[in-house]
Symmetry: C2
Subunit: 899 residues, 2 copies
């Protein structure tokens, strides 16, 4: 017969710590601790197999389970020298669930099983404290009534409150023993009113509790949780039956939780909290405030209150860390000064803590470098690098009704400041302190204001809207698509309140929360230190060290998307090995250039055009020189002009008036031009290489500027490595012609400058058709770079600027499992990428292929790119460390550790 | 040694008619006619091999060619009993090129070879007419000088004009013999001035002419022509050397061309024209007006002028048709009353003629039905069905400067009428005669006006812009993207002229020409007769019969895209076997519905919404009843609402004001709503199934209306076959949820109505991702229907509304070989289609798959769909005959006969 029940306690255990699948996480932990000789109250675990079989067999236990439970109970009684259900000093038990994965919705805990009317009186007669015994019984009846019998919890709460009122006391622990005895009767009456009966028979209590755990597998909340998290339905939960120990038996008793290292900072010291004279559920109920294990002055409160138990707990945590090689999260109870361990598991932690713990465990020789890389997820690095609010301050502000709205968390980090409702206002206000730009949405015209802002907040747009992309590029906190924000008439209306320009707001771009008032963000010391090149704290050292290990493991290069020398420098400091996307249009929006590009657009003829281009050429050349210099010796992929021309014309009447005056044309001319350039679907319009073919002079100028800049640096003894990238190619004809044109310009300029340098000419793969015919396009392209934003837009037919109309609802309703602008859609868009890699390299063996869309910095996407054999990913400068780590994780673990 | 020269004449020939590849088309025709004993002036053909070898060997003839030419010339001299180059009565020759495919740019013809100073005088001495001989010599010198020696043609023209002036005569034929002798001297002098020399040696003349033909293979125009038409570079041309016969030797001589059947009407009678006393080049020069073979009264002019030759020509044409089983286009010369045949080839013809000839040749037993289907191309049917202008009237109007603009030929057919510059104006003016709607572009709001118009003309948009799609659906002539039209301030400005509303214009939607004034279009009798069900003319009978044969051959079904009962009836009359796309949004634009749908959009809450939907339900139900009834027993695929909601709101201030009044809300409310619905890229926005998920009540109402309509007809003993189609699906989640919802409504209504009927629920495949994950989607879709318009838009990333900015230039420059909105892009978009078919049927074997995009009526696309194994194509009602024919051609010939 199969073994369904595993006993533990008394220094041994039938199960092992690695049997998480069979015993559940809790059961395996208990077995492990028992086996290590740690002080675990004895008990037994009913395996997950029982739950599985029960479900498979339509609600029947497999044969022999009851008998095995009886045998385990008998062994337990023998070990403890007490009898379950006995009259004067009975064995009392707890029942807890515990699957391989912790799952909300499962029945959690029933304590004090084994008490009944008869033995409560027997125990009092035997000398047990009357109040303690009656309180234990009261707790059993309400817990059992609620979680096993399904009687509503609030009824018990109501009766408890009435009992306090009757005695005129504030807290439960002040209710008298008589009052508790009366309360038990009222509880039992309440349960009967609900058509149920509390069993007086101890065996019936135990059986009922075990069955309740097994059946809670199928309750709605557990089912939904499994569905959402993709957990298998045919798994199951274990059931842990354990001897009770009591933290509520007097002032030399306590109950608490502890981490073997600080889960916030990662520092190696006991961290946690406890309650004196309390049972576990009191901590959860939140009526009494627990005491921190670590005192404010760095000494230990627990060490002061329970010196022996504290020393024992420290010892046990070290034993567990030695054995499990991971930071542990334990539950403990102190009964009459003696420590008991009730649970151990790997502890949750912040990003900062994760990095530091992983690093130090390598230093301590507990794990190797690869294991350290496995344990830190990309998002934890992001979290570590972002500024943040003090969690308590933020919670207080929210509790005080300060949460105004929630949007999409588009750029991690916290910021607060006075709000500005236009980009111009930001510039005006920025000298007087941090400013948050709040807009319906942003456009390229706002770029200067976005630069000057401390954070960006929009009511429209999705994860790759203009605001989101630019903000991430700038490393600024950003929330987009916060639909409750109503920005108009120079006011921001939200949650029934009105904010004017200059009023304070706070925003948490890591969570998407918009909060009233002025919370103070704490800067990420790590980023600052890394950019400065200092190693000032343990966290910074851990960060550098971990990324060094990542660099040693990864195959893919990591580049950055950067348009300015400043961005390039930051990217390089953060480890970028080149620029994968240098957008040239942003250069056109600067004050001194925009008028020339507008002149170009409004030009009446060849002469105007030539004059405008001649003015723009040296400016672009200067831009490129500075960027190539900043990236000396590393490749810089320059994308030729991408947006449609109408983006460069002003939208409002006043600016058009001004422009007309500047250009010496009529406002009607400006309007007519703007109208003639207007498009129904600009995303699918005359932009990218289409513009390069319909208005070829612009690309010619850009290619000339790139080549001249490179030539100048070469002559100065530098090592510039420019690459020219053509956007939006979708047909062989486009690439063939544009390559031919670009080669002609490059050749001409290099001959004229008498410089010899190789300038590869490649293309973005961002139109679905380009992926489908990648073999044709590869004939004329030295490299490919996937533009996964546009590829996603066109593959799904979602405009990233409009998708906030339905995408949030899609994700909430589970129509889509995630936002495909945030994580690459491997199933659909991924097919196009894999196809393009295969076809491209079939036509041009060994072709260099990268990605420069937003997904280039997202861990699960990076994992996919590694599998596709891409040569590099390129992402926002502040994402470079994440990409370095993720590329290593992808290389080491293949498909496994997707965040 | 290989045979390079094939002699013909004297009732025999070394070559055969089927050796077109070897001898060229002309050479094969001459050999064939010779072999049939027809009166062909003897000669020989130098094979295409010689040209090929010449090019392959860097400009050297293969060994033995010269010897074989000499031998053939000797045989010819013997046959004709005259010597080439002889002094008094020499053999004179012509040299003409002739490849397997006729190719502009190749050297064409040199006549009268063999004349020189010496034998011209000898012939005159021998009794030949002096003027005739000197004219022949004059022609030789100028032709040889131009085409062989490369001396500019205009110099010869100038000298000829001076000669006329000197003698004070009007036409060349009045120049005296002395004047011609003088002219020859001046020609020779001119040639010498150009650094060339006219050879007096006859053999040198012949060799030079042959070499000029061979070398003309590599001239630029021929090369470009081969490139554009995809003809192989390694093919070659033949050279035909033939005894001269003279149509210019006196009044009993003539030269002409003839068709064995009327190339316009297809009627079986000789058709063509001739010039008395003329040589071939005179016809081309256009100085004298040729005489029609067929007189206006139905008698034959040629029969009157040359009775014997005419009878002989009729006989020969019958012989040739008997032999070649095709309508022939022949060149002939009558010398001294005797007929000579110079060429025969298959004749070009109009659509009408193609259909009638193909039909009658089957009836006559010349060809079988399949061959008839091979000979009629889809576009010829389109041409046959479209109204047209009288070609002479149109040419006269154009010659008179009436051509105002050219746009894209978006809807075939001719129309003329007074112009209206708004849809409302069309409705107002339509009762007083035909009206042309002229707009910058059209939108769904214009639908009523478009219906009422005789033709539609826009300055923007491409082949699948709103105007183009609707116009083709309505079978109306349409020109789009005519960028020269400037419509504003209630005026149309074009080509420096201004037209007001009510002025007359004419438009030819088959060619894209916009013409000033009022040309009278001739209706297509075929369409009218077929819809009426009459068989009144031979053309109508041929049309019906041919399509009957097509129906017997094709595998794919043909359905129509139709939104109204009227369209459904027309489609059925034209052979549609169902409706593949019944758009439901058009129903919403009708006067009594639009206010309800607007009420729905502006609704403040659940009650308003419910009321609006309750009002719309019976209207939609009524629409569906009428359409299901019209298509009784045939499937009708109803597409649920597709466009974004903002399309239903008015754009202009006046209409918004009116709407606000109607709805009892403020204008600001209307504006705010419109603004909140506005999208940057509506094509990629909240529409289709996204709307179905974000505003589910609309789809529920539509599904209920469909089911109620079907139930009602079933109860009335009818056989409705509705199919429900969900648009824009791109993920499994969308289809899964919407199917579930639709099934619930269908089930509820059918139970309530106590009717049992199967209503399949399928989806469009129009988003690239849908094709990529078609196996997932197929799990929830009973059928697929490709929406190739959107699929093309998204695969290329081209907005069909904006692509006129670059697409015309792309096609003109050869960046793209064709407009992918017109012909399916098999290379790119086709991959998605093939993939979706394969994956869809892998997941759901035998799944019904069709296409309902614009390509469903385009022959080359239909050919591709046949190869993909689609079950049906669906197209505009007026395209149904084309689709029937093309589906049969695709089935019979596979990839071959792509138009």
């Amino acid at each position: 017969m199969a073994k369904y029940v595993y006993s533990f306690g008394g220094g041994t255990a039938e199960g092992r710590g690695d049997q998480k699948e069979l015993l559940g996480g809790k059961g395996a932990g208990l077995a492990e601790m028992s086996g290590l000789g740690l002080p675990v109250p004895p008990g037994f675990t009913i395996t997950t197999e029982v739950c599985k079989e029960y479900n498979k067999n339509g609600g029947r236990y497999p044969q022999g389970v009851e008998e095995q439970i009886d045998a385990a109970l008998a062994r337990l009684e023998a070990l403890q020298s007490r009898k379950f259900g006995e009259r004067s000093d009975p064995l009392l038990l707890s029942v807890r669930s515990g699957g391989p994965v912790s799952m909300p919705g499962m029945m959690d805990t029933v304590l004090n099983l084994g008490l009944n009317h008869e033995n409560v009186e027997g125990m009092i007669g035997h000398g047990f404290d009357q109040r303690f015994v009656r309180d234990c019984y009261r707790r059993l009846v309400s817990m059992y009534g609620n979680v096993v019998l399904g009687v509503p919890h609030d009824g018990f709460e109501r009766l408890l409150a009435q009992a306090r009122e009757r005695e005129g006391v504030e807290v439960d622990s002040e209710i008298s023993a008589a009052g508790l005895a009366d309360l038990v009767e009222r509880y039992l009456e309440y349960i009967r009113e609900e058509g149920k009966e509390f069993p007086q028979d101890s065996r019936a209590q135990l059986a009922g509790s075990i069955l309740a755990v097994v059946e809670s597998w199928n309750n709605r909340r557990a089912f939904e949780y499994r569905r959402i998290h993709g957990l298998p339905e045919d798994s199951g939960t274990g059931v842990n039956v354990q001897t009770m120990v009591f933290g509520n038996r007097g002032p030399d008793c306590a109950t608490g939780v502890a981490f073997s290292r600080d889960p916030a900072s990662g520092e190696r010291r006991l961290y946690g909290e406890y309650l004196v004279n309390a049972q576990g559920e009191d901590v959860v109920a939140g009526i009494r405030t627990p005491i921190a294990i670590l005192a404010a002055d760095g000494t230990s409160n627990l060490g002061r209150d329970f010196p022996e138990a504290f020393a024992e707990l420290e010892r046990i945590c070290t034993v567990l860390e030695d054995h499990r090689a991971e930071m542990q999260d334990v539950e403990f109870t102190i009964e009459s000064g003696k420590l008991y361990m009730l649970q151990t598991r790997h502890g949750q932690r912040t990003g900062l803590s994760a990095v530091r713990i992983a690093h130090e465990m390598v230093v301590e020789g507990r794990i190797d470098e690869r294991e350290a890389l496995r344990r830190v997820e990309g998002e934890q690095l992001v979290q570590m690098m972002a500024p943040s609010f003090d969690p308590k301050e933020k919670q207080a502000a929210i509790d005080g009704g300060g949460l105004l709205a929630k949007g999409l968390a588009a750029g991690p980090g916290a910021a607060s400041g006075r709000i500005a409702l236009s980009a111009e206002a930001v510039t005006e206000m920025a000298s007087e302190g941090p400013v948050l730009l709040v807009r319906e949405e942003t456009s390229p015209e706002d770029i200067v204001g976005m630069h000057a802002s401390a954070g960006i907040l929009t009511s429209r747009g999705g994860m790759t809207s203009h605001a989101a992309v630019v903000a991430r590029g700038l490393g600024k906190p950003c929330i987009v698509g916060a639909g409750d924000l109503d920005v108009r008439d120079h006011e921001l209306r939200v949650a029934g309140r009105t904010f004017k320009e200059g009023d304070y707001l706070s925003m948490d771009g890591t969570t998407g929360e918009v909060i009233a008032g002025r919370l103070e963000p704490r800067a990420s010391e790590v980023i600052e230190a890394v950019i400065e090149g200092s190693d000032k704290t343990a966290a910074v050292r851990a960060f550098r060290c971990l990324l060094g290990w990542a660099d040693a493991e990864r195959r893919m290069k990591v580049r950055a998307n950067a348009d300015t020398p400043e961005d390039a420098r930051i990217a390089r400091a953060l480890g970028a090995e080149g620029i994968g996307l240098c957008r040239t249009e942003h250069m056109f929006f600067e004050e001194d250039r925009i008028s020339w590009i507008r002149r170009l657009i409004l030009s009446g003829g060849k002469d105007d055009e030539t004059q405008a281009l001649a003015a723009l050429l040296p400016m672009q050349q200067g831009d490129f020189e500075a960027i190539f210099e900043a990236m000396e010796g590393l490749p810089v992929t320059v994308r030729l002009l991408d947006p449609p021309l109408h983006e460069f014309l002003p939208n409002d009447d006043k600016s058009r008036q001004r422009l007309a005056e500047q250009m010496g044309v009529s406002v009607e001319d400006v309007e007519r031009k703007a109208e003639s350039l207007a498009e129904f679907n600009p995303m699918l319009g005359n932009r990218g290489c289409r513009l390069g073919l319909t208005s070829p002079a612009i690309y010619d100028m850009q290619v000339e500027a790139i080549t001249l800049a490179a030539a100048k640096l070469v002559k100065a003894g530098k090592d510039p490595r420019p690459e020219i990238m053509v956007p939006l190619v979708g047909s062989r004809g486009e690439m063939e012609r544009l390559r031919e044109r670009a080669v002609a310009v490059v050749t001409r300029v290099l001959e004229q400058e008498e410089v010899d340098i190789e300038i590869p000419i490649g293309t973005m793969i961002e139109v679905p058709r380009a992926a489908l015919i990648a073999d044709e396009i590869a004939l004329y392209a030295d490299f490919f770079s996937f533009g996964t934003n546009d590829l996603t837009q066109m593959a799904y037919g979602y405009s990233r600027d409009d998708s906030s109309r339905f995408l949030p609802q899609y994700i909430e309703d589970g129509v889509l499992p995630f936002d495909p602008f945030e994580k690459l859609d491997q199933e659909g868009v991924g097919q196009l990428i894999a196809m393009a890699c295969e076809k491209g390299r079939a036509a041009r063996p060994g072709m260099k292929i990268g990605v420069c869309g937003e997904h280039g910095g997202e861990p699960s996407s990076i994992d996919f790119f590694e599998r596709c054999g891409l040569d590099y990913v390129s992402c926002s400068p502040y994402r470079v460390p994440v990409a370095r780590l993720s590329a290593a994780r992808a290389r080491i673990y293949g498909e496994a550790p997707v965040d």
